[in-house]
């Protein structure tokens, strides 16, 4: 118990915890939009495209996160623009950007002299080495996402549900879409530190999928996702510390565990409900006509 409490005295652990909680907020809100609009593949494209920025950052000696933001946001806007043109296949464009980003990243990392162990933390995440800059950016992002969603919640919801109808009643569909895809890109890039390029998408989808088991309301889904994300990342962080295993992977492992448990609990509840219904029909057959 003592070591458990001592853990919170460590600055880097407190930073990691703060990063995890902030990640849960931005991922909870943005992830709900991604899952509801079936944008998971687009998000995968943006995630991997941003690796190009990381590689270029390494090569030219500036912050890889800045490079990733640049690449991520540009590819997000590109995908959104392309998807409006009916003559291109959206999924193909995403696949091209996906691999182009990865290829650029690999080439520049290869050209950078010396092996960078730090690079692994971009691929697999390392929340324990999160920088002050990254923490501030995560905080700013969370605030930005909260402000945007509180101001335009209904409009975002209506555009997400039925774009054609939203256009017909002259809602600012394009503006909302560009704004959202930019927020998606920022959320992904800034959370790469937490879970890494390969795993970050799960922070944006697993909490939502768990939440979706219990609610079909967009707003409730956001709050439940944030809560699930916080529980998952907190528990995952502790477990990774005690067992000395990679934090990002542990968080995701724990989230999937919650998902499986939730499914089982839900399944048991449903079968009990059905059983009860059958039983009541047996006891009072005359009331059911």
């Amino acid at each position: 118990m003592e070591t458990f409490l001592e853990l919170f005295d460590l600055l880097f652990f407190r930073n990691a915890l703060l990063a995890a909680l902030l990640a849960s907020v931005s991922c909870g809100i943005i992830g709900t939009s991604i899952v509801s609009r079936r944008m998971v593949f687009i998000s995968g494209g943006i995630t991997h495209a941003s690796f190009g920025g990381i590689g270029i950052g390494y090569f030219f000696g500036f912050s890889p996160i800045v490079g990733a933001i640049f690449f991520g946001v540009l590819s997000a806007l590109g995908i959104e623009y392309m998807s409006k043109k009916t003559e291109v296949r959206e999924d193909s464009v995403i696949a091209i950007l996906w691999s182009l980003g990865m290829a650029t990243g690999i080439i520049f990392v290869f050209l950078t002299p010396g092996y960078s162990a730090n690079l692994m933390s971009y691929l697999f995440g390392n929340i324990l080495t999160v920088s002050q800059l990254n923490l501030r950016l995560l905080l700013a992002l969370s605030l930005l996402v909260i402000v945007v969603f509180s101001l335009f919640f209904k409009t975002i919801l209506f555009v997400a549900f039925d774009e054609n109808f939203a256009r017909a009643i002259r809602l600012p569909v394009d503006a909302i879409n560009y704004l959202l895809i930019t927020l998606v890109a920022l959320t992904i890039v800034l959370n790469i530190r937490v879970a890494g390029i390969i795993l970050v998408l799960s922070l944006l989808t697993i909490p939502q999928t768990i939440a979706n088991l219990f609610t079909h309301n967009f707003k409730t889904m956001i709050f439940l996702s944030i809560l699930t994300g916080m529980i998952g990342s907190f528990a995952g962080l502790l477990l990774s510390w005690f067992f000395d295993i990679p934090s990002g992977a542990t968080i995701i492992f724990f989230l999937v565990l919650i998902y499986l448990l939730a499914r089982i609990v839900l399944q048991i509840r449903i079968s009990l409900k059905i059983k009860r219904q059958i039983n009541t029909e047996h006891e009072t057959p005359k009331t059911i006509l």
Binding site: N164, A168, N217
Partner: protein, 251 residues
């Protein structure tokens, strides 16, 4: 009669494909127009042009909102239900509420009067008990009613319906036509349909769309007219009553 929407020499399509050519078409107040034509003939494209979702390649589209009541929306729209993602986490109440949203007014919450309006229109369609349900729990007919609520909640002057009779049972279809007749007293209606048989019985006039548009000022099209207009529509027969469309009937 007052003009609502006027299309002059409109050519429209997507990217490198022209779907509609030189369309001249006017919707007046109190119109009840049935729009028919083969698949791929451009019905939905024409609807999208009128809605402003796609811009015409040439020609002009003129709206006449000058005399309209500012509290009423100009166009109400019911899209094809098959395009709806039924897994989307949204309640019936919110779907109907979206019919009141406007570009000028960013809605982040709904006012008491908005909610009251939603309640009223749900009651009007007889689906009040569904208000808090998720759209994934509804049947095809129920979903169509919800979309109709959304389309009419802002009391549009022109109501556009894109194939409202797909995926619904006969009972709902009959209900729908009765509801539309009632609505037609206060708004013009433009209804796209693939089912030529039923539509002609209820509408006042027919627009036949197949790359170009032919307007029939009545709801009766004769065999000769069909032939001369080169209007390749399929006539649907209902059991012992063949070719309902072609039968002359008194009003």
């Amino acid at each position: 009669m007052e003009k609502l929407v006027e299309l002059q020499q409109v050519t429209a399509g997507y990217a490198d494909e022209v779907v509609l050519r030189n369309i001249n078409f006017t919707v007046h107040e109190h119109d009840f127009i049935g729009m028919i034509g083969p698949n791929g003939g451009g019905k939905t494209t024409l609807v999208n042009v009128i809605l402003g979702i796609i811009k015409p390649m040439s020609g002009s589209i003129i709206f006449h909102p000058e005399s309209s009541d500012r509290r009423r929306r100009f166009i109400g729209y019911l899209p094809q239900v098959s395009r709806t993602d039924k897994k989307f986490p949204i309640s019936v109440r919110d779907v109907v509420l979206s019919g009141l949203a406007t570009g000028q007014r960013f809605m982040n919450h709904s006012s008491a009067s908005d909610n009251e309006r939603v309640q009223q229109v749900l009651a009007q369609m007889g689906i009040e008990p569904l208000a808090n349900k998720n759209i994934g729990e509804l049947s095809g007919g129920q979903l169509q009613r919800v979309f109709l609520c959304r389309a009419i909640i802002a009391q549009p002057r022109l109501l556009i319906l894109d194939e409202p009779n797909t995926f619904v049972d006969n009972k709902f279809e009959n209900d729908l036509y009765l509801i539309l007749r009632e609505l037609n007293k206060t708004m013009a209606i433009l209804m796209v349909s693939h089912d030529v048989g039923t539509i002609t019985y209820y509408v006042k006039s027919i627009a036949c769309v197949n790359k170009t548009l032919h307007y029939h000022a009545s709801n009766i099209i004769s065999q000769e007219q069909l032939a001369s207009y080169n209007c390749p529509i399929q006539i649907i027969t209902h059991g012992d009553v063949p070719h309902t469309v072609l039968r002359t009937h008194q009003h």
